[in-house]
Amino acid sequence: MRSPTAALLWEIWRRNRMAVAVIVAATVTGRFLYYAEQPTDDPSSLITLLSMVSFLFLFGIFSYTEPSGTRGIGSFPRRLFTLPVSSLQLVAVPVLTGIASVELLYLLWLVPLSRGGVLSAPFVAVLLGTFMVFFQAVFWMMERLGPLRLMIAGAVAVVVYGVGLLPSWPPSPPPPWRSEAAVGTVGAALAVVVFLLAWRHIIRLRCGGSVRSAYRLEPLIASAAVVLPRRRTPFASPTAAHFWFEWRCSGLVLPALVGGVLATVIVPFSWLARDDASGSLRLLLGTLATPIIFAIPVGMAFARPTFWSEDLSVPAFVAIRPLTDEQIVAIKMKVAAVSVAISWLLVVCFVGVWLSLWANVDAVSQLAIQWWAFHEHSLLSVYGTVTLILITGVVLTWRFLVSRLWSGLSGSRPLFMASVMSAVLVVIAGMVFAADRLPGWVLADPARMVGVVWLMSIAVVAKCWLAAYSWRRVSARHLRQYLLVWGAATTCLLTLTMLLWGVVRIYVALDIYRFQGFMILLALLAVPLGRVGLAPSCLARNRHR
């Protein structure tokens, strides 16, 4: 190599040739599809998906980490510390190459993606570059957090996305403080600061400073922990002790994420939308969806024996506890329930304060009046529906937290990955086949509805018999307890779906009986029945091997 920089660039290319090939293939296919399809306001879902794939692979390349153990996301490549290059070069090469690459990729996708967009291309380019710096800094500077870095990077992406929307928020044109120029400048300045911090961190590592020493806050946190009240009373039972352990390890994550998004994204946006009725309604729906959406990725980690570890085997610390497999699973489900309850409490408190103090409630009250009028002027119908919506939200959030317990606790990586990938595939399929157009497609031809209802009917029968099979080894007591929960949750969902059916059937051209069957089957499928029964037996195999 002619220079160390060239060597570092060659290293990046050599290690990521396959990923680069995927990016090129996705980009070429996306551009080809763009020219092949009719021009519309928005790019097709497939083009959006291909662009997402190419950007995801690019960020994957420029996380610029290497696994230090057998598995995991890894850390900044320590072996590069021996190269005869400065630390600035070590940090600047991947950062600047990352920025250049993401800008180049954005340039290639600019025409398809900017169709129907409201933000200017230079502003989006600045945001992408800024996010690349933040993304790399998260992975290099927070290596002790392990896989949690993925969540933090996701949260940073949400914040950058939210900040990126600031200039497009009404009124138009926006005030100077949230114009594209102002927001872009602040973002770029922050990126420079973060780059300097990352550089300093790498210097420290290279000089032999441990990762731990880089955290100046740690002594502060440690002294605070000593001062803060801590639990001194003994646990009443092993069950209580394990509940406390599970809660500290995994239960706090969902409330913390929901609270964080409320504080950093939704509260500022609710203030910006205080004069916009439809914007407030959209934000309300987004707020109510937040715990459910976060429960999906958190549930994937929650299903594993240890939340923060990628190892699926049951740790000895848990395996030797004087608890049965059923008890361990039941404790996980209770922790999930508490976690969901706190998350929803945060959401309900915020929504209550927001709607009563600074929200524009015109669209919300319009909806409430229509619902009230539809149900022959019954106030009870409105309050009852709101209550049912909240309970359904809680049920769905809990469902997404616990539904993968059987595969996560099995210890089988292929099984767990298959379970996770099924969720990812559903999301991808929803995007490729435009899930928002699915109801219209089904309703356009009554014959399609028949097929869908039959498929769901068979799914319910399969669910019942899988449950019967999985319950063989579950004690009657636990089964009764779980069936009580399942019955209550399913009844709630059934009631809500029947209320919705009563409204939709008046406005949409369809066979109301088939639609009713569809809604009932949907409610019966929503809450897992058999998989929870499978979880203790899966854990038993993993625990005693």
Partner: protein
């Protein structure tokens, strides 16, 4: 394994397998080569024909038709271009829609006389139908019918674009003598729960228009012997959805009066 749980699962499976077998039977009738969707229910001497408002499919009568079907034969249908019916020829004015309705009823083998029920813009169409085919009509119920047809000329909706023409056709149509006619005027409450301050202001602003409409209904009904006006303060414009029982009872009254008239 617990036997009672297994029994519960067997029952759940049976319900799941039963649900897809339940279905409604729609009639597809061909009018000038175009398929119109129709739902026929109930039995009785009278045939009650429902004409939708602008936009919603025949399902808008979902809270009314099942009750009326208990004492009369009922027919709801999707006009051409509405719901699951195919598009019809232009212009989509009252005359064209009345002709298509007559042909559709004939194709479905539903002989006259008919008690016509029309909501909103459907009120204009049944007036045109009654004026064009007076011998086929035995009673009429107008559910908060369209009164003011101005201001829609530039609409892209094929029926709204010619609504002025339809209104003119309705004005020219004479209601057959002696046919029982009831008009439901939905005035709506002055105060509704959940209304924001902006909505309260808007409702107060629209109130004079509603009053003008009510006076116009009354003036028109005064010209028709035996016609009756029902003013409801408990419903907005969507009376079949907000106050279905009122619509059902009004239809019952008109069906009874029409039956008595035929027997005489």
């Amino acid at each position: 394994m617990n036997r009672q749980f297994t029994i519960a699962l067997v029952m759940l499976s049976a319900i799941a397998l039963f649900l897809p077998n339940r279905s409604q039977t729609f009639t597809r009738v061909a009018v000038e080569g175009r398929a119109l969707r129709m739902l026929v229910g109930g039995t009785g001497e009278s045939t009650v024909v429902f004409e939708n408002g602008l936009g919603p499919p025949l399902e808008m009568w979902g809270k009314v038709q099942p009750h009326v079907s208990q004492f009369a034969r009922t027919v709801t249908y999707d006009r051409a271009g509405v719901g699951l019916s195919q598009d019809g020829p232009s212009p989509r004015d009252g005359q064209q829609i009345a002709k298509e309705l007559r042909d559709a009823l004939h194709a479905a083998d539903l002989p006259p006389p008919y008690v016509l029920v029309g909501a909103s813009i459907g009120g204009l169409y049944i007036r045109v139908f009654a004026g064009t085919y007076p011998e086929a009509v035995s009673g009429m119920v107008l559910v908060d019918p369209t009164h003011d047809a101005d201001g829609f000329e530039r609409s892209l909706h094929p029926e709204l674009a010619v609504v002025r023409k339809s209104a003119e056709q309705a004005r020219r149509s004479r209601i057959p003598l002696g046919v029982p006619l009831v008009l439901i005027d939905a005035v709506s409450q002055r105060e509704v729960p959940f209304a924001s301050s902006a909505m309260r202001e808007l409702r107060a602003k629209n109130r004079p228009e509603i009053d003008v409409e009510s006076r116009a209904y009354k003036a028109w009904l005064d010209t028709i012997p035996g016609a009756r006006l029902i003013v409801t303060y408990d419903s907005g414009h969507n009376v079949p959805i907000e106050q279905p029982q009122l619509v059902v009872e009004t239809i019952r009254e008109v069906v009874r009066a029409a039956g008595n008239r035929q027997r005489q």
